[in-house]
């Protein structure tokens, strides 16, 4: 083995082994588990019993037999897409603002963006229970406005709205950071050039800033969309009984119903969906980024 190859293995080897042992193998175990039969008291039934291999594709048949599962998947997708969209909407102006403030304020502002990570995730989500709760000032204000228009009082907490609010809140920094990293690299002269060539403020934003920031938008979207798809804590805490997402469904199979094979099946379906959307996003990205 040459020196370079040895070095390469020493550098890449440990993380590679780690990923194989703790990611690839468990994923394969999960695939195997999805074809097995649940044990009587949860877990898995023995693989070999009564003189035959105990394998069956019936969890997959079950998944497609009841539309409710497809519906939960679609709803999760919708929540993830909506969360991603709202995150872009909120993070973009913020990231742009950070690139435009004097250099010495930038680091402080970035620190403020990531500061929430310093406190526990669950505590931050629980805080929203108080903010959105029926005794909260926000709820009172919303209902006063609703009342003024002759509408029935609405509950903010334990609703899809609360779930999306919580999701956006938790994932916003993951959108701000890649956007900022991208926008910060833009050559301000390009905006001068565009203006000089006749572009008004909107055209300068759309044709130059936005177009050039697409790699950042894609990166941020991936960092928000994918985790939101699997997130169960936020819907658990802020959602109502009807606001179950994929994450909750999977968690329920393993910890509640103790139907490991079906839980595995759901996990695999989720992984496939994420891979499919990632592939789609990459195709889109490659088309627009090929030459950026």
């Amino acid at each position: 083995m040459t020196r370079e190859r040895l070095t390469r293995w020493l550098v890449a080897g440990p993380p590679f082994v780690f990923m194989v042992v703790f990611f690839v193998l468990p994923a394969l175990i999960m695939v195997a588990a999805s074809f097995r039969i649940p044990g009587e008291h949860g877990g898995l039934a023995p693989l070999h019993e009564h003189g035959a291999w105990q394998l069956t594709p019936e969890t997959y048949a079950f998944f497609f037999s009841d539309f409710i599962y497809t519906e939960i998947f679609l709803k999760s997708f919708l929540v993830a897409a909506l969360t991603t969209f709202l995150c872009i909407l909120m993070a973009y102006p913020l990231a742009l603002l950070i690139t435009r403030v004097p250099k010495r304020f930038r680091d402080v502002m970035i620190l403020l963006v990531v500061l929430p990570f310093a406190s526990n995730f669950l505590i931050r989500v629980y805080a929203w229970m108080i903010i959105l709760g029926p005794q909260g000032a926000l709820s009172a204000a919303v209902n006063r406005v609703a009342g003024a228009f002759g509408l029935e009082p609405v509950a903010l907490l334990f609703s899809p709205v609360a779930v999306v609010v919580g999701m956006v809140y938790v994932h916003l920094p993951f959108m701000v950071l890649p956007l900022y990293t991208n926008l910060e690299k833009h050559d301000p002269l390009l905006l001068d050039a565009a203006q000089d060539l006749g572009a008004n403020a909107w055209q300068r934003f759309w044709r130059v800033t936005w177009s050039l920031s697409l790699p950042g938008v894609y990166a941020g979207s991936a960092l928000v969309f994918i985790p939101v798809l699997g997130m169960f804590a936020v819907p658990d805490i802020l959602g109502g009984t009807g606001d179950i997402l994929i994450g909750n469904l999977i968690k329920e199979q393993f910890l509640g119903t103790r139907d490991w094979p079906f839980g595995s099946t759901l996990s695999i379906m989720l992984t496939l969906m994420v891979l499919a959307s990632a592939a789609l996003a990459m195709r889109l990205a490659r088309r627009s980024l090929a030459h950026a």
């Binding site: 001068d192 203006q195 006749g198 008004n200 030459h291 950026a292």
Partner: protein
Amino acid sequence: MALLELRHLTRRFGGIAAVDDVSLGIEAGEFFTLLGPSGCGKTTILRMVAGFDLPDGGAILLDGHSLADIPPEKRPLHTVFQSYALFPHLSVADNVGFPLRMARVPAAEARRRVADMLDTVHLADKADAYPHELSGGQKQRVALARGLVGKPRLLLLDEPLGALDHKLRSAMQSELIALQRNVGITFIFVTHSQPEALALSHRIAVMNAGRIEQLGTPAEIYGHPRNRFVADFIGDINLFDAEIVERAQGTLQFAVAGLGHIVAPTVDSPGRRGVFAIRPEQVHIIAADAPTELPNRFPGTLREFLYVGDVTTYQVELDSGVRIQALLPNAAPARPQLAAGARVAVAWAGDAGLFLHD
């Protein structure tokens, strides 16, 4: 009426006038150059004309109308930036087509004009390439095409050749002259490179410390610099403090520091103090003992020479201790074989050189 007129244009940064009461007129179809060292205010003028900076005083008039209230995107002029500022996410054709798109030119017409323009700058085969795939010279031509395709009244060029290597720069200079003649668009060119300014321009404004020192054709500026700054900035020149002593034989006798008395042309009267300036190519080097009809002749020692291929520059230390530079073409048949330390004499004609006021 001039196409573009600057009237008492002034711009201050923190109390210092970067542009100080500049007035000039640029005619339609002209290749006009603002030339000066960095910080002389030439780029500030360009930015104010483009609309990226606003004057503190004075006015900029295009066709007699003030540009004061017109934002950059509405001014009928385009800029070619030193770093090109091509849009990295757009193809060459889309970069060139950008101003047409902004002006809502119909797509078919825009395509035709972009194709024509790319033809003009010899980039027809690069229409689908992206800026990062182009060489420096090609990027430069895309930037020019993008600036010209919208048929602006004026094209502002901010040191556009600064980033190119020497050979490419000479090639681009010739192209630029041809291009400007073909499209008939008025160019305002900003540079700190005096050979570039001399080669390209119809007229040059030499600037220093926010003011115009001299405005004229390249030949006027080079042959008749108005003061010490212009003489020193444009080309190589020998400068000596001098005083006019007397008028004799149709020319004037000068007392020149370190030279003694010389004969040189001037319109000034005796008693006047100033600078005697003479170009190196006007100074001849002859053998130390050779006879000459030239009235100004001084013996000295050759100290250094700089061979640059076509010409050689010689530094001669006169016996008085003063140094003078002479330039001889290497093709000259009578070129003396000279080595450092050789005894020589320098000589020049009585009508060579200039007397300048400080």
